[in-house]
Amino acid sequence: MSNTIKKLLATGLLAAATLPLTAVAAALEPNKGDTTWMFICTALVMLMTLPGLALFYGGLTRSKNVLSVLVQCMVVFSLIIVLWSIYGYSLAFTEGNAFIGKFDRLFLKGLTPESVAATFSKGVVIPELIFMAFQGVFATITCCLIVGAFAERAKFAGILVFMVIWFTFSYLPIAHMVWSWPGPDDIKDAASLEAVTAKAGWLFQKGVLDFAGGTVVHINAAIAGLVGSFVIGKRIGFGKEPMKPHNMVHVMVGASLLWFGWFGFNAGSALEANGTAALAFANTLLATAAAVLGWTFAEWVLKGKPSLLGAASGCVAGLVGITPAAGFVGPMGALAIGAAAGFACVWGVSGLKRMFGSDDSLDVFGIHGVAGILGAILTGVFAAPALGGTGIFDYITNAASPEYSIPGQVWLQAQGVLVTLVWSAVVAYIAFKIADMLFGIRVPEDQEREGLDINSHGESAYEN
């Protein structure tokens, strides 16, 4: 263990990421306000995928493929939430080793209306059932995000096989590494802090900050999508035929629903209805607005016209960028992160995309990858108390720690990013190969030309 990390442990620099573990003292009763708040947030996060993300993605495809994306979102959502209840929640959020949990909650065993989960505040708990559901909808949107990268050509059965493998071997370990810990209730002194920390996930122990899922959700999904775009190959006619979004109205409605639902995603990650949730809420509003302006003006200056697709894409870029930082940075830090994400992603979907040379159809990496990485790194900068951030909460003194090293935290953030990129990329590659061997990962050429809606799903969205 390096000196830096020893020091972090000693000062309690591990503070918060989303999530606690199970079993806190049975005497603690959930507060009705906190509980209600988590119900609302869980439903809001579900709204992000169905119909938010589905509409956003569906509008971006050509009209012959819109239903294929909608059905992929709806079925993958359902598949993942079922797997989550069977083994996902257990492996991600029970105490195991630093990389993965155990099967203590297999089939949600022992999860009763009386079970409680810890939060980030000592003595505050929420019903574990709603904690399970809240974390479950995070897993679903992460998997649904990936389908954008290989939209308009992937085979439905292959996608489902890929999802089962990737969810099990990438989402669950990364979520465990970043978010799993026993909660703060037993921390009284340096020794107990070390004991609690030792039970946490690997990246959490290191001190990586990820408030609502910049690494676990966005970078994780984005790199898996990028790998998919390489393995599956380009759409027929990519770069030669026009592949215009077929309905920009859907795109705008979808992006707006994502923004609305994201209040549950970010502010809900505080796990209580408190000041930290309020900070995350305000930051989600401000960073996103700054990103819409950032993308719009960048596009206006560089490409000549401010487009609706630019504004909607900037909205998503800002939401992704502020996700890891939401409860750690001040409102002005949020504006800076949002604007930076808006600018950076204009490059992500043009210059960077050309560099990769692959056909990431709906720019999953260009937006979720670029804004996710930028947001993770900038969290290390703007979480600094000197820049208006909250700093790191010290559970020994029960106050924000006065010590904060920007370079030190940025390096930790970079490690979180790198681990996620490599882990997810490797798992995704293997998962796509297995899916390809089992059922095939791409539809035949004539079916792709005619469209997936009629060929894979037997229906069409519009009368011709």
């Binding site: 026009p242 215009k244 487009s307 979907v349 720019d363």
Partner: protein
């Protein structure tokens, strides 16, 4: 008898129809078409991808008129469809060999 075919801007259709009715033209066939001329197309930009749209939407109007109405009809279309900007369209005139009104079997100019 002549068949006048005019390619005009979409938003000029109403004015042209009114002008033609005003000079006693009793029927017009309208089709939505796409094409290019000197106006050429335009480019659309979606994130990093730029697409050139080579064919612009226009309205094609077909009017069959008796010989004595040809000049007035051409004049009416020309005046009502003109904006003075590029892309106003064109008028083509071709002779008609034969006309039949299906309901009554009338032929020639009386069938128009």
């Amino acid at each position: 008898m002549k068949l006048i075919t005019a390619i005009i801007k979409n938003f000029k259709l109403d004015e042209v129809r009114t002008a033609l009715s005003g000079i006693g033209v009793s029927g017009v066939t309208v089709t939505e078409v796409k094409g290019f001329g000197r106006q050429k197309g335009h480019t659309e930009l979606y994130r990093g991808a730029e697409y050139s749209v080579d064919f612009l939407p226009k309205i094609k109007l077909e009017v069959a008129v008796s010989d004595d109405l040809v000049e007035t009809a051409i004049d009416a279309i020309e005046r009502s469809a003109r904006t003075g900007k590029i892309g106003d369209g064109k008028i083509f005139v071709a002779p008609i060999e034969h006309v039949v009104r299906i309901r009554t079997g009338e032929t020639g100019a009386s069938a128009l």
